[in-house]
């Protein structure tokens, strides 16, 4: 709990994060109140904020030995990663709950969709904790944005243009599905209900993959020397 509060205080002292998040949240709340038929568009981009929280300063602090003072007589690095993920998920889940509440209460969106949104948050939080060990949060956010754009393009036109087949046709449907699961923070860009489209509950496939990323991150952090400076 102490470590969680420590990390939460650090996050609250990030003026860029606080400013951007507050603006987006305010717009999201206004949308949620004005139009209860669908969740605010901000929720689509919430995984980017989860990435930001999960990965902020992790790599830089490790590389510059800035975590030595909290690791010595303190906690193991894997525990810090878990706390980061927890903080990121708390920010993400609280925001999802807040912005989805009006639409959920009026039953204009199904609970399943909110569940899928949360699964996306868990996935991107876990992946960011892993990537955050070696890359800055900005780099991870850029990666998430680029891969999402690519996956959306592939689902919309790219597959048809490049292969002459729909992304839901064999042999590309599995590539489409897994590229989406692994690389996009946007909902599945395939026609739901189509016989050839993967069922939407497969969005939950992200959860076991998230556990895999998190396990790799924790094992790597605890067993390997990350960013050991080249000095004698």
């Amino acid at each position: 709990m102490t470590l969680f509060l420590f990390e939460a205080r650090r996050l609250s002292r990030k003026p860029a994060f606080v400013a951007v998040f507050t603006v987006f949240l305010a717009i999201g709340i206004e949308q949620a109140v004005m139009d209860r038929t669908e969740p605010p568009w901000f929720l689509l981009f919430l995984p980017l904020f989860v990435v930001w929280v999960a990965a902020f300063d992790l790599s830089g602090d490790l590389r510059r030995g800035r975590l030595d003072l909290i690791l010595s007589r303190g906690t193991r690095l894997s525990r810090l990663l878990l706390v980061r993920l927890l903080l990121a998920l708390l920010v993400g889940a609280a925001t999802t709950g807040l912005l989805s509440a009006p639409a959920l209460l009026t039953r204009t969106i199904p609970w399943r969709e909110t569940g899928e949104s949360l699964a996306r948050l868990v996935y991107w939080g876990a992946l960011s904790v892993l990537l955050g060990l070696v890359a800055s949060s900005e780099a991870v956010m850029l990666l998430a944005t680029l891969t999402s754009a690519l996956v959306v393009w592939w689902g919309a036109d790219g597959c048809l243009e490049l292969t002459g087949k729909l992304p839901t046709e064999s042999p590309w449907r599995f590539f489409t599905f897994f590229s989406h699961v692994l690389g996009s923070f946007l909902p599945l860009p395939l026609p739901h209900g189509s016989d050839q489209a993967p069922p939407t509950f497969l969005e939950f496939v992200r959860l076991p993959v998230a556990i895999l990323w998190l396990s790799v991150a924790c094992l790597w952090a605890d067993r390997r020397n990350i960013h050991v400076r080249e000095e004698g």
Partner: protein, 247 residues
């Protein structure tokens, strides 16, 4: 002589090929062990390995004669004051002090006293960003953090380097006090004038290898036996070790 911190055949290899060890080092309880050696000898790396922050390639670290295979267990039990204390971004000294105090379960009265003393030493509030503090001030914070909760094992990497004379005396006094209370203290330093004041044993590390080790009485014959001034004995031992290490 009760063994407290011990490195047994510890080795480490950096990506650039530089290799430490194999190193054998014993730092008994209730004593200050001084680690001396030229820049790049491997002192900081060895201390980081003993402090659990770096995993060695091979060898073992022991506390009170028992091998501690999990380096995070080592990190939990051994307090390390780094030579370039860097605080995590977006924190204050007070935040880190509170985290350390909670983690090692320090009584509130002791924490308050440590905060007041540190504020007095720094001459400013602990709620300041560490980036606004000088290196000397951060070093004092680092020593306070390391000694919080009376640790049994203390590693201090150049703990008074760059400090003003009064602050230096205080650091020397506090390290000696901790060792008198039974802790095993390892100090790395280039200051051969101050080391004999505080240290009971000396270990010379050159090129990643231990070249000499022992108390002043034990190392005096190694340098001819005619020298009596502790600083001169250390200087001569240091010179011979470095020259021997280069051959």
């Amino acid at each position: 002589m009760r063994q407290a911190i011990e490195a047994r055949g510890v080795t480490f290899r950096y990506p650039n090929g530089w290799t430490l060890g194999p190193v054998d080092l014993v730092a008994p309880r209730a004593m200050v062990t001084a680690l001396i050696g030229p820049n790049g000898a491997g002192k900081t790396t060895l201390l980081r390995i003993l402090g659990g922050l770096v995993r060695p390639f091979s060898g073992a670290c022991l506390l009170d004669g028992k091998e501690v295979a999990d380096r995070w267990e080592l990190a939990r039990r051994v307090a390390l004051a780094p030579t370039e204390p860097a605080f995590p971004t977006s924190t204050t000294v007070a935040d880190v002090l509170k985290l350390r105090a909670d983690t090692v379960h320090v009584p509130k009265a002791e924490v308050t006293a440590a905060e007041r003393q540190l504020e007095h030493r720094l001459g400013c509030s602990l709620c300041r960003r560490p980036s606004t503090l000088s290196r000397g001030q951060r070093l004092q914070c680092s020593i306070t953090l390391a000694l919080l909760g009376s640790p049994e094992f203390v590693l201090a990497d150049e703990p008074w380097s760059g400090l003003d004379p009064l602050a230096m005396d205080e650091v020397l006094g506090r390290l000696k006090e901790v060792s008198r209370a039974g802790a095993s203290v390892v100090v790395s330093s280039h200051d051969l004038h101050q080391l004999p004041v505080i240290a009971d044993r000396f270990v010379v590390l050159v090129g990643g290898r231990v070249r000499a080790a022992g108390s002043l009485e034990e190392i005096q014959p190694l340098v001819g036996g005619s020298l009596t001034d502790p600083t001169l004995i250390l200087k001569e031992l240091y010179r011979r070790s470095v020259e021997g290490g280069q051959e």
